[in-house]
Symmetry: D2
Subunit: 377 residues, 4 copies
């Protein structure tokens, strides 16, 4: 069973993660992880801090000569913007920002300084989760399972193009500052971001994650908590700011009759069983069906605005304007990269539940044997 814990504050010394349960003999390429950290960081609409942070992962244990040994893997991302002064006698913060954990955190944890909340509630934590998921991706790559993402909506500007899984399209997305595959739409999105920035406002949007190369059979209908959409949905919803998630045609299915929605089953010698359409986004009965897994999620506009927003000083109970902390204009492009990681992690978990083994070789055998079995069905 794969599991991890993370720790670390936004302006603390470092973010730390421990991963337990990977088999031995998995190749781990640190550059690959750092590339994902870079992809998360280097998008349009982010704050100054991102320029400051280097975000390079340091591996502290569990890997020898570039391979896992079976032992827990500890990783660390040091914060360049480490501010020890904030953790001793800094001035207390009393004005909670609406839309953040500021006020609920104070009340829940019986604290008297919002600093204690925001250091951990900060989305900075997603850096270490990106790295953890990147390790999951490295594992899945061995089985040609690939996780992609793009942005399909920022502030209402929609990209309705199909998500093509070919080199050219992926390259467009990866070189787009807003991770959008359509040049025209991209420009509109960027304009809107600049405009929002000028107005002291922020923007939400929708991103899409697509997983190609999955085998049939991940997840299960036999018990409610084993459905793969549950697991992936939970992971996506754990990304700060995400307020909704859908699979395949998702909410559109409310308005499409069954006869148009259903993905008919076909069969051919070369491909085996397939679906003639993929409205269900690769999942039937809580189980992957070998079609591409398609997930879309909405991220709310970041609630930290330069525009004035009303709140209450918790010490005096007076109406005040919310303080402004350095913040992104939109988190959607970054969220799409983070989402790749959290999805990869859940798939790796399901994969290792199904094809368990203590060494990479054992896992590979179990996988190959299964693929052979189902392809003969």
């Amino acid at each position: 069973m794969l599991r991890f814990l993370t720790a670390g504050e936004s302006h603390g010394r470092a973010l730390i993660g421990i991963i337990e349960g990977l088999p031995s003999n998995v190749n781990i390429d640190t550059d690959y992880i750092n590339r994902d950290l870079y992809r998360r960081k280097n998008v349009f609409g982010r704050s100054e801090r991102m320029k400051m942070e280097e975000d390079r992962v340091k591996i502290l244990s569990g890997i020898r000569d570039g391979k896992t040994t079976g032992a827990p893997i500890a990783i660390m991302i040091e914060n360049k913007d480490y501010r020890p002064e904030l953790f001793s006698n800094s001035e207390k913060i009393y004005n909670p920002r609406p839309g953040h954990a500021d006020l609920v955190g104070l009340l829940k944890y019986n604290l008297d300084d919002i600093r204690d909340v925001i250091e951990r509630a900060s989305a900075r934590e997603t850096a270490i989760r990106t790295a953890i998921g990147s390790i999951a991706k490295l594992f899945l790559n061995n089985f040609d399972i690939r996780v992609y993402s793009r942005v399909v909506n920022i502030g209402g500007i929609k990209d309705e193009d199909e998500f093509l899984i070919d080199e050219e399209y992926i390259k467009k997305v990866e070189t787009s500052p807003v991770r959008c595959g359509n040049k025209e739409i991209e420009e509109k999105m960027m304009k809107l971001i600049i405009q929002a920035s000028e107005e002291g406002d922020t923007l939400g949007g929708i991103f899409e994650v697509l997983v190609a190369g999955l085998p049939v059979g991940l997840g299960s209908y036999v018990h409610y908590d084993r459905r793969i959409n549950s697991r992936i949905g939970a992971a996506i919803l754990s990304i700060p700011g995400v307020k909704g998630v859908e699979f395949g045609k998702g909410f559109e299915l409310s308005s499409i009759p069954g006869s148009s929605a259903v993905d008919e089953i076909g069969y051919s010698e070369e491909k085996g069983y397939f679906r003639r359409t993929n409205n269900m986004g690769g999942i039937e009965g809580g189980i992957t069906n070998r079609e591409n897994l398609v997930i879309r999620a909405v991220m709310k506009p970041i609630p930290t605005l330069r525009k004035s927003v009303q709140t209450v000083n918790v010490a005096t109970k007076e109406k005040v304007l919310s303080r402004y902390e350095r913040s992104d204009i939109t988190g959607v492009p970054a969220a799409s990269v983070i989402a790749e990681s959290v999805v990869a992690w859940e798939i790796a978990c399901e994969f290792l539940d199904k094809f368990s083994g203590d060494s990479f070789e054992d896992v590979e055998n179990a996988y190959m044997n299964y693929i052979k079995r189902v392809s003969k069905y």
Copy 2:
């Protein structure tokens, strides 16, 4: 820690559930549970089977004189439509229905009779989950936490009214055959269902769950897997046919600037802290903020159609038309009741994580003390 397991096949002897972790001295009213089972069953658009099933819960253990003792609670719903003949030498089923677990289940579990898949993959299982969640509701009622639901879209017919938490509106929903609070919309929905039925088609839709009376502080930002939206999202996505879930304004937030989306914080002597709007659906930073929890989910049209749908005979690999099994025209109204239960369960889990105790009295003390603490903040 609260947990449960369920077992049982659609045409087996019975559905069974075991609940472990409820404190002692919780009053359990069997009629209340049966009422929820009736609410799930007795909606428009369901199949003939529902008329056949009585769906009354039988308590086998854990309750004495109407109260929990702390011991595990075993419950059972006997199937009136028990068909022992299906479990011995019945004819094998080879034509998988698209959109169901039929084919993926065969492949995953290495079976040769679709009967082995569909007996467990059937949505019949949601009856026992409704009962389990109904017990969670009974527990939450003691703290004036109430879970409501309604249908807001069937097949594209939308109800855009606000979800009012007053007796009159709730009564309208509860007496509506499609669980819609607006008479006019209700009629349109029913017409569409009848039309779909005549055409051999099916319909999806959207339902809404609202939880009132929650304390501030359920869920957490400190670790990714403790966000209450993750937990609730996973539960909702585990209802068969659900393809998306959103909180508060959900997917609409992609198109609303931060300055309009943010729920400003207010304070008054009587109410304490409150939000001036509730676009976030009662959750900030993965934590309840004392506003109503608002969840919406989309259910796909049921893929069992009388209209012809193409599939493949797994024995011969020939193209065939999908067989028709008795089925609902739409599952949306029933799903809204099931969703109440699964949401209630997750909230009871969070509640007991936060206000643990072996007896109801201990839990009540922890809760009251906390409410006093935060109200003085």
Copy 3:
């Protein structure tokens, strides 16, 4: 991941268990399970109740045509001694028996009738756990993993013979009323039991569980909670009345120098790696080493005595003599059978963690491949 829950009271309608996580296509022989229930029941020194109970398992779900389908398995053992009158207006019990959960249960769960405690705290619950573990044994039998047990001490009468894994010795144990392989010792044990019975006293003892046929590699040293001895130790200690557990030479190792204790490693073409002795009981570094797994555990004398024992009436706080409830003279022989089951369960869990798969065929492939890999090492 394999898991189960149990429910049911001692004089309630039935004991119920749900098992989730077994692969499909495992043969389940109900007679085998019933035989284990009989072995648990039909030993010397037990109370009258055991003669009354039939203890036959009823399978409610998850099995079709004698095979698992992958769905949860619900099983039930009906109580012949069902006493519905105890669950309504029966007279309350106020005198806690020392050594039982009577008093601690009252206090913990804030109850006012000891009946509410003892119905669940009763060792009657081990009947359903025996059945659950028996299913685990059936699974393990496919891989020639066999779980045996015997009694080596009752009330101080020790059997110091070696535990031979041959048909003749096993037969001796299985036909012995106290599950002792040595006729002479058996007689002494039985005499002591009769004597204790006459004196209104009870006896403890030590039983041994031995697992033959295990592969190398179950359990792990990489994280503290994955050591197989931890897992098995916890299971054994969960049998009511067990106060200690040891592996291999166990407590004797406190007095043996390392040079005598160490199990030297040998190698031969036919056997591969082996140990020249088995002082460690088949475990090194928290991992099975292919030698027999040897576990011993002590069960305290049952604290329900006909002899007078002092306690306190919880209503009046007066000193009183403990009431006598029908009880066994010794639970050791029964406990050895229960222990087989709980050990088999934990091994099946570890086995399926390591050689996972959704169907029996997938598990078998993973196992065979691993055995081939390690045998070539």
Copy 4:
């Protein structure tokens, strides 16, 4: 729910731990943790390495101004004996030491260098677990729950004195190089250790852990996996080298009749309910009964001997003598300190399951209220 993960190799850069689930506002005294690390290290019979290691804990997150914030706590112990050269092109090790994970680890994880096994299987890992448990102790101290330990047997030299919980006796234990409370026995133990050292041999023994100040009601009989002895037993058995664990009179109970073993119940105005003896070691029905929790465990002699031990070279399959790695003569005194920590952790888990709360103040309220309730019973 409290949880932790650890990572780190014996000669890697550092040992790392992440703790998740502690409430906010718990005072954390780093000196206290370091004192426990010192107590683990600074005992008689340990190897040279212990002199080299400083073992000071570094807190990386989760604590501000000496208090927990509710966020995960990351801690680190840097290895002075860090040897980066071992993790790149060092010479491979082919001769497995019997009694260690060397051979089973190679086979399980499909490795070809024993170095990959021993770096993680090393008991060095217990340093970080000691620190983690020390944090649990700090938490429990607030409720006057105290965890003590001593050594009662080394290599057969037994200390049969009672474990007195008074300042003087504890001081004797804490100043004894072998953690024995009896000067005469201590001397004999030390002589035996010196003798074993001269002979190239090693020694096992027995240690005892005692927890005073526990409330009634931790653990439960309602489900098998909630018995506190199971949980504590598993933790003790996870300490490398431990081969058995017992509670109260433990294995002696095999030979004592029920009438002598039973702990009669008494009651007095000042003390409430109490037991007249404590043969059961503070646990009835899997639940603490307010008497001292008494645990004893056996540790095998360390299998790394200077004396020659036979093994097999895994590359050549030749008989060889086991290589000698720097090692302790006996690990028993150190294990007793480690055991305090692992027991404290499990008790803190049970405590927080029962008296949950997000802040220390909430937990304290729940605890005080419960104590009041049961004291009035």
